[in-house]
Each structure stands twice: as C-alpha cells, then as structure tokens.
Symmetry: C2
Subunit: 200 residues, 2 copies
C-alpha cells in the first residue's frame, strides 16, 4: 500500500468518524446546542481539523441527515426480505418499540431534527429533514398499496404520524412505556385493516 493511498484511507476514515459522531451527538443534543468541538471530541479529531472535511457546521448537519437516511434505508431494506408487506410494517413498529428507551430520552432522530431545522429562517436544511421523512412515508405507502388497501397514502400518513406522535410524547414525558402502549395499538390497527375485495 503506498503512502498516498494510506493517507486517503485514513482521511476518509476521519470523515466517516466525524459523520457518525455528528449523527449521534446532533440527535442527543440538538443542532443548536452542539458545538463543533463536541463532535470533534466524539470523533477523536482535533477541532480545527474539522474544517478540512466540512467547510461549515451546516455541512456536518447535512452529513448527519444523510447518515440517518442511510440507516433508514438499511432498516427498510432488511424488512423487504419479509414476504408479506403487512409483516414488514409490523416489524417496523416492533423496531420502534425496541428502541423505546432511546426515543424516550432523545426522540426520533429525524423528527426532532426536522423540528429544529424548521425553526430556521434560512430554509437551507429544513427541506432535507422533510425529505428523509418523506422517504419513509413513501416506503410505507408502497407496503399498503401492495396489500391492496384503499387510500394507501392516507394509511401511511396515519402510521408515520402515529410514530412521530408517540416518539414526541415519550420524549416530552420521558416515558418509554408510551412507545409500547401506542406501538401495540398500531399493531392491532394494522391487523384490523381489511383487504378490499375484488377490484379497485
């Protein structure tokens, strides 16, 4: 391995470390209360060096958003392996319930980020958080459509809205049980949906 390749690998490692650290710390502390040194410390990179990889703080926020988006794609990708779309949606809800402690402490990563970014006058990044949520919404809608259920877009809206609502309440009241209670209700709701008979 030549020196130049060696350096490039290390460089991208640091960039990756910074991105991962940003995703974690920004979720836990929020954008505004997180300083570049917080992220640098977490990634074990000197503060001033951050600017070699990211020209501004906003670029780091964007990288964190991409990271969350990738995590989401990974999750839905795994769920695709289930044959029945209804089972995929149920497994999604179960994944939410599994993460109840994180939700109660820090909320949904994308949801809380969206709330914070929407407060900014410069509408540079707020649309990006919305786009990640939109992706999940679209994936969910596809599952309902495959099930031949009427108004799949409305059903997707109800499911994702339910997730965001229960995450926010669990977080605001610091109560993971809320994730379990509402998650269970959503599972029953999914079961109750009847496939439309015949044509649509």
């Amino acid at each position: 391995m030549t020196n130049s390749v060696n350096r490039r690998v290390r460089a991208s490692q640091k960039r990756q470390r910074l991105t991962a650290a940003a995703a974690r710390v920004l979720h836990e502390q929020g954008v505004e209360r997180t300083t570049l040194s917080d992220i640098a410390r977490e990634a074990d990179v000197p503060v001033g060096n951050v600017y070699y990889y990211f020209k501004t703080k906003d670029e780091l926020v964007q990288a964190a958003l991409s990271e969350h988006s990738a995590h989401l794609d990974e999750l839905t990708g795994q769920l695709e392996q289930l044959a029945d779309p209804r089972d995929r949606l149920k497994a999604l809800i179960e994944a939410w319930i599994d993460r109840r402690d994180v939700a109660a402490r820090y909320g949904c990563p994308t949801g809380t980020l969206a709330v914070e970014l929407d407060k900014r006058a410069d509408g540079i990044l707020d649309a990006e958080a919305g786009a990640v949520i939109r992706r999940l919404l679209n994936w969910t809608e596809r599952q309902f459509r495959e099930l031949d259920l009427p108004k799949p877009a409305d059903l997707a809206l109800t499911l994702i809205s339910g997730y965001q609502g229960m995450s926010l309440l669990a977080n605001a009241l610091r109560d993971p049980d809320i994730m379990t209670r509402e998650g269970t209700r959503l599972l029953h709701w999914l079961d109750s949906l009847q496939v439309s008979d015949g044509h649509h």
Copy 2:
C-alpha cells in the same frame, strides 16, 4: 391615579408585553435561535431593560411556557361549555384543523418547545414543557372517562399523540393539508368509539 400606581401599571404592561412576545417569537424561531433582542424588539422594550423583568433568558422561556399553558386552559375552558364530552373533543380537533397553517409553518407551540428543551443537558425547563402536555392529556382523559369509555388514559394518549404526530409531519413537510386529513380521520375515530354497555 397616583404616579406610583401609574408606574406599576406600565411596568406590568411591559412585563406582559415581553411575555406575549416571548411566547410568539420562541414558537416561531425556537429557543436557541431567538435572542433577547428579538424578543425585546417585538415587545418594543430596550434590550438591557429586559433584565429588569426577567433575570435570565430561561425565565423568559418559562414565562412563554406559562403563556401557552394559559392559552390551553382558556381553550379547554370554552370547550367545557359544550354538554357532551364527545362534542368537546370534536371541537378540540376542529380547533387544531383551523390552525393548520400555523402548524404547518411552526408546529405545535408546546410540542416543538418540548422537543427543543428535551435536548438540554440541564434538566431545568424540559420537565415544564412536559407538564403542559400532561395537562392537556389529563383533560382529554377526563372527557373520555365522562363518556364511560374503557381505558380513557389510552384513548387520551392516542388522541394527543395523533395531534403531535400530525403537527410534526405538517411542519416537516410544510403541508397544512396533513392537518385536515389526519384531523378528519381522528373525528371519524371519535365517532366510532362505542360507549361500554352497563357497568365497568
């Protein structure tokens, strides 16, 4: 009217103006991106003078939270005039739908505030936002209990969680229609709930 009384009235007027301005601006811009001068300007009070009424920025945030809590009490108070608890809950949902444009632009005042305050390491104010939401949750639970419906606490959780979820999505996607679509669904859901027959 003596001079001292005159001064006291003006003083409390300024305090009140600052509180009202804080409630509005903090909702629109968020806590972290709002400066004391933003609030002072909105209240037409010189910046340095703010500290005569509020010792710290946190005290202003707290005042804004109380203001939101009072607004909420006012709303539920008006709803109490309706005889049927179910009508009260429906009117609540209709009020949410009426405010769809504000929700799409800035989210639920209390919900977004709770998200932001929960990110803070110093757990001084985060519990307060939770308390306001808890008040609404309790009021809603009472309505369901008066209707003799089973598991009123769970029903209340579902309703308020639905509200927070649709507000967050409407905000993140900047789409007031989401408030209408999900609000309508919640209205139908309320209608579908059957009063338990006999004893409980």
